[in-house]
Amino acid sequence: MNLYEFEGKQLLAKHGIAIPTGVVVRRGDDARAMYAELQVTDVVVKAQVLSGKRGKNNGIKFCSSAEEVSRACEDLFARDIRGQYVAAVLIEEKLSIAEELYVAIVYETNKKQPMLMYSEDGGMEIEDVAEEKIQKIPADIRQNTIVSTIPFAPELWRCFLAEDARVAEINPLVKTVDGRFVAADAKIAIDDDAFFRHEDWAALEPRTMLGRPSTEREIEAKKIDEGEKYYQGTAGKYIEMNGNVATLFSSAGASISNMDALLQAGLEPANYTEYSGNPPREKVYQLTKIVLAKPGIKGLWIIGGVANFTNVEETFRGVIDALDEVKPTYPIVVRRGGPFEKEGLALMAECARRNNLNMKLFGKETAMGETAKILASMIAGN
């Protein structure tokens, strides 16, 4: 999960990295009063979004009065930044900048270990900085401390480890005219899989990178995989999209190739969804209910590869429980193989009969991509 700048800075501060004095403004807050309480005249007003490049997209404003701050907040709350929802606005003291540095820790996939990265050319143009001007220093994940002359590197390493970060980036790390180092920005991504050792993460607000707040259905779907047995089969991945073809994918790998196939067949997905790892009937039922609940659906694609050990009969029972309740009238195409495929497909056929569903069923003999075309022609003829 990507953290907002203000959340990331709280983590940096916790591990001894200096951050500017500031305050977080939410929609409906009295920005003037909060500015007054800061007791700083020159401030930076920054939109809190989950992607970078705010500076180049009018997401950052410099102000020197309550009036200016108030107007800047109103303006930022009224728009998206590169399609990203503005969750909050951060008002901070304006730093007197002498130098802008770049320091980050990320996992490097080829070396399979964390890499400390440092450049003296930090700031907005970091993506254009030549590779040779960025130092890359491998770090041993088994060491709790690192020794480095790079400013705040030991503190950032502690933060990276203790907070289970996948990415911890400070850009820019500002050297002020009076010689102090201050983190002017923070880009931290935490590892969702480490939630069991971070109780405080439960309090983080829901978020999506799709340029809008999470929908009720997305929030609802996330809860499916929570609880003690969270790792036994997943069924909580659901992202809403703008199209009208609902999807229910099994297997994460199949899901991404099927999204490609869906678009190639000229269809537009209403959602991205996936269940995998032999989830129990109840989890699949909950997910299917959420998928079917979106308004405006014109077709449904229930699709998966030849499963290794996901029980097709058991998982289909969950799908069928939901179909029995909703009884959709739009075309449905099903393709699936794997353990108990015959039993699962037979149950599905029965469900189609008793509910008069407009459904076509396919086993592993028919390729997945082909069934996308079949669904497209059913929708066109409907």
Binding site: K112, R197, A254, N308, K364, A367, G369
Partner: protein, 296 residues
């Protein structure tokens, strides 16, 4: 022939008394793979699938020194300790089926394994199969004989479901597999495409290799280097899933944990680099068998 497995393969299952651990033990035994024993903390003395259960890996290998594969099927929060236990007891091949291991724990285990020259497959890997010889993990599931038959095509996949699906497409085309390996979908992989291609290069049974890849990460670029350095010279066909992801915002995570859209790592960019190195790139995963059929 085949890679990684042979008739001497002898497996220890960590987490053997759990529902999924038992299922994995049964799957391996059903496919004529030796499963010698299992480990579950505090449950030493029990039997599982007719095999003795020990409370620690140290006790297990004392009784069964011929163990050469550890299969890890424990909850994610216990995975690091289990893998480190296998490493400390010098088991040379570790297949980690566990999904959702924190990346920090994975990185820790990979660093410890590397020091001892121990190979980890996974995490989030359902395992591997050498048709006719044996399997580690649950690849193929109960339908294994409908999907797999000995042959000349090596299969590598980031996705467990697609390991099976692609292998099925190969079977449907009248071909067989020399080995199929699910490398797992996490950002960090213990065994990469490049590692496996080096093994397939040496394997006389393998005449061509297919890969089901995904957007995100930079592992496909390692393949390019391997081919340029002539370390892999056999025909190779690849499908890189996730072209649709280019319409998603940067940093969005979809599919597997490793499939995060980043700079220079999109499916399209990977395909261009692979094509330039002479790799056959499939538009749909269903095309993989036709691309390699003439070499089989």
């Amino acid at each position: 022939m085949g890679i990684l497995l042979d008739s001497n393969t002898a497996v220890l299952v960590q987490g053997i008394t759990g529902k999924e651990g038992l299922k994995a033990a049964r799957a391996m035994l059903d496919y004529h793979t030796q499963v010698l024993c299992g480990v579950t903390p505090k449950k030493g003395g029990q039997m599982a699938e007719g095999r003795p259960v020990f409370s620690s890996v140290a006790e297990a290998v004392e009784q069964f020194p011929m163990v050469n594969v550890a299969l890890i099927y424990v909850p994610p929060f216990a995975a690091k300790a289990a893998i480190i236990e296998a490493i400390n007891n010098n088991i040379p091949l570790i297949n980690t089926i566990v999904e959702r291991i924190p990346i920090k724990d994975t990185a820790y285990c990979l660093a410890a394994a590397k020091e001892k020259n121990i190979r980890i497959i996974g995490p989030s890997s359902l395992g591997l199969i050498v048709p006719g010889v044996g399997r580690v993990g649950v690849v193929g599931g109960p339908l294994v004989n409908d999907i797999f038959q000995p042959g000349s095509i090596g299969v590598i996949s980031r996705s467990g479901g697609m390991t099976n699906e692609v292998s099925w497409q190969i079977r449907k085309a009248g071909l067989g597999q020399s080995a199929a390996v699910h490398v797992g979908g996490d950002l960090l992989m213990g065994t990469t495409y490049a590692d496996l291609l080096r093994m397939f290069e040496k394997d006389t049974a393998t005449k061509a290799v297919v890969i089901f890849g995904e957007h995100g990460g930079s592992y496909e670029f390692e393949i390019v280097d391997l081919i340029i350095n002539k370390e892999f010279t056999k025909p190779l066909a690849i499908y890189v899933g996730g072209k649709f992801a280019s319409v998603l915002p940067e940093g969005m995570n979809i599919g597997h944990a490793g499939a995060i859209v980043g700079r220079g790592q999109s499916a399209a960019e990977k395909e261009a680099a692979l094509r330039a190195a002479g790799v056959m790139v499939a538009e749909h995963y269903e095309q993989l068998p036709e691309l390699v059929k003439k070499f089989a």
